[in-house]
Every structure is written in structure tokens, then in C-alpha cells.
Subunit: 291 residues, 2 copies
Amino acid sequence: MPASPRSTGRPVALIIARATLLAYPELLPELAGALHARGHGVLLQVIDHEREADAALAALDPGGVAGIIAAVRPSDAAIARAAAGRVPLLLYNCHAAGPTVDSVSCDHAACGESLAALLLEAGHRRFGIIGASALVGVERAGGAVATLRKGRALTIETVRGDYSYASGAAALDELFARMKPRPSAIIAVNDAMAIGALDRARALQVRVPRDLSVVGIDGTQAARLPSYELTTMRQPLHRLATTAVDLLLERIADPLRPVEIRLFGGEMIVGRTARLERPVRRLTVARTPRG
Amino acid sequence: MPASPRSTGRPVALIIARATLLAYPELLPELAGALHARGHGVLLQVIDHEREADAALAALDPGGVAGIIAAVRPSDAAIARAAAGRVPLLLYNCHAAGPTVDSVSCDHAACGESLAALLLEAGHRRFGIIGASALVGVERAGGAVATLRKGRALTIETVRGDYSYASGAAALDELFARMKPRPSAIIAVNDAMAIGALDRARALQVRVPRDLSVVGIDGTQAARLPSYELTTMRQPLHRLATTAVDLLLERIADPLRPVEIRLFGGEMIVGRTARLERPVRRLTVARTPRG
């Protein structure tokens, strides 16, 4: 990021959820850095829930911004209204059906699929899913569950959190209360909830990963702390952020070009929170009769 | 924060360092929430180093913003230029000499003093300080060192980090290399560096807090994780943020009112990373001669 970017144009609005800022603090510096580097300020709109995305979009003065990056998913109707008002809009880390609008995203469903396949391969059969109601979480959990159903999973139980550490801890309690016997593996749709579940499991004296595997998605700095070393899928954050900004600026320069979707795969980070070896079978060895 | 605040006026610019966003993710949602609640958007300017604060301030279009909150300390000259240009400016968590400009801040020196006094009281005599070059860190370290010098400290060695986790880990190595015998207590000027030093100490098989005490300042969510439970001074974040926004809006409404400084004390959080009991002295007990 250059030392003192002079904003040459109007700012770009960024609509983002409070939970995203808290659980994924690396994101905003990346996006702001990419915008600053291209001469744009960031007009920040923080919302509490994804359902407020439409209102946040409607509240923006189209004349006051060069374009909008929505790191939450507005409704199809709100996206159509933005298009009708000719406000350049890009969806970050989510996408619209159709597609009707530019988007840059990690392939969330594929992240869930990869983790599920890894755990199935290691012999896990009883799964807890810590999901969330926002679209990103729904896609991640959907990918995981679809793979588990096609695989040899015996039990799949889902509870919902709100992406926060505390909701991950509470979700572990709920999964343990519902599942008898307990799950051997838990897939959380973000790292913050996985870390919350992990700490709660430790507090309950559950051995991770021997008796319980816990995996997340995002690859945050917190997940890589020595206290956690979480098994997770890392988002290619820098590439996502710079691509998002470039694509939005191309749209601003050429409002009529075709809608473009860019999807990036995640990268598997094998940490220390998942048992990935099949348990050794106890073989019954016939004794050799004494000669 | 209301569901969909319509920005009634021009946005408020927020100049903030990347390191602050990463080490203290709770801050931005608080500040943005307080501004949204009062009908203002946030025009975000992320800088890499405090020394870029002047350039960031100069780059803002005074006609485009209602006012500026600087969460970094610009130079006195830059503050004077902003005043001359009649741009309402408020310093967040730092203050200017004179004083020449409104500011809302935690009492950084007092935070350092409190931690130093606590550790002295517990009998610690050999201290490592993990400081930083930005003003907040200088004040925090200054408060700690002044108290240690007035107290019974035998050794005070300072190294500098950049507020990041990684720099805290590196600082621990440097303190251990320089100090023979090793320090018994380390005061880091923020939680992220304290956590970095803590993890590094654990990797070196140093027992915390038995053989080494580590304390930080900020009271972040990360510091309160069960893996850390850091002893630290918590900033009254919500009160700081709402006061900052209120004071800036009062300044916008009345440009001629006298300069106002608001200083808030921190709150001691006694975690599990500091030895706060005096070691039991081995008394030489004279044997009672046998009767």
C-alpha cells in the first residue's frame, strides 16, 4: 500500500457485517489497501446482520460513491434496484443467482466438501456441523453435508451459530447434548466458531484430536496460533481482495460489459485438530499352540 | 446500532493504522457503530505506519467529510494545518501537546504504571519491556519504566516491536538473549505482543507464570481466550468510542468551543499470566538443641 494515496475519485462503499470484522480482522486491511492503492477511499457501512444488507444498500447516496463492494449478500430485488440505478456493485465472497452481478468469491461449497472428504477418508462416521444462517455459512455447510451424505457418514447433526467464538462454544455443548454417542468430528463453517468449540472441548477434558476432531474454514491468523493450529481451508485473501477491487474498477470504467464471476479455491491447511489417520484395528491373533 | 441508519450528513473520516485493525478488531465496529447511530458514514483511511498520518490527513478533501477522527497521532504541524483549514479533528486514544485539539483517550501512562506497580509489589525485580515506536506505546512503556525506576527494580531492558504477535515473539527472544539472568516479568505495551511473547515462552518450555510473568495492555477478546487469560489493562472501549463521536459532533456544531481532553482510566484484568504472590522465603530455622 503506498505511503499516502491521494484519493483521486469518489470513495468506494464497503458494506460488511460486524461479525466478519471481528472474526476475520485481516480482511478489511486487505480490501482497504487494494482500494487505497488504486486511489479510492473506503466508505464503510457496518451492519449487524446480513438481513440489513438491503437497507444499507438503499441508504447509500449513489452520487457519493464510485461503486459498492458488498461483503454480505443483498436480496435479488436489492441487487436489481442497484443495477437499475446504475450503481456499480460487486459482491465479495458471495454471489447472486443468474448471475446478475459481478462477484469475487472463495468456492465455499468446495471448502466444505474438501474437509468432509478428508474426515470421511480418515474413518470418521459421526459428524457435528456448526453452521450459520448467512449465505456463506449455508454454502459451506451444504458442501460438507452433501459430501457426507454421499460418503459413509452414519450421523450428521447440525446446529447454528452466528460466526462468533462464543457461539462455537455453545454449539459444542448442544451437539454433545443431542448426539449419543458423541460425534467424532465437527466441521464449523468458520474458524472463530471452530476455535470456540475447541476451547469448550478442552474445558470438558475431551482430547483433541484423539477423541474429537474439529475443523474450520477461513485460515485466519487466530487459527494458526500455536494454541490452536486448526485444520482449516484458507481463503486466498490477498488475491480475493485485489481481484475484487480490479473487477469493480473495470465495471465502473465499462458499465455495459458482461457480468463476471470469479471463484477461487481454498487451500487445505492441515493443523493438529483433526485425526486424519484411521484408528488401528485390534486384531485377534490366534495363539500358536505350544509345540 | 440501528438496523439501517441513513447517513444524514457527510461521512466522518477515520484514519487508522493497519496494525491497530489487526491487533484490536473490536475497535472499528465500536467506532463505526457510534457514527452510524448518529447518522454518519465512516470514510476509512488505513495507513501502514503512524508516520503516514500527516499525509493521510493532507490527502482528505475537507469539503467531503464532516470531520476527522485520527486513531493515530499526526504531527503538531499537521494538527495546526487542519485547525487552520477549519476541519473538525479529534484524536482517538492519543492527545496533542498544548492541548491544541480535542481528544478522547485511555490514560496510557497510568496503564503502564499500574502493571509495573502490581509486579513490583509481587517482588519482581528484573523486567523486560516490549515497547513500540508509536506514541501510545511510548506512553505506556514510559509509565511502566518510570514506576519501575522509582520502585525496587534491579534491571529494566527494553526492546521494540510493531504491535504484532510476531514482533512480540521476536522480542522475547531478544530479551532472553540480552538479559542474564533472564527477566522474571515482561510488560508488553499491547496484548498482541504479550500473546506472541507468551507463546514463544511456552515453545521454549518456560513456565508461565511460575518462571516468567507476561502482561499486556488493551483487554482484547484474544487476551481473554482460555489459552491465554492474559493479565492486562482493559480499555473502556465502548465508552471511548461513543465519547469520541459525541465530542467530534459537538465540535462540528460549535467550532469555537474550547479544546477538550477526555481521559479514561483502564481496568485491571487479573488473568493467569503473572505471578502476583511473593515467593515464599526459605527461612533458616535454628534447630532447637536437644534437651
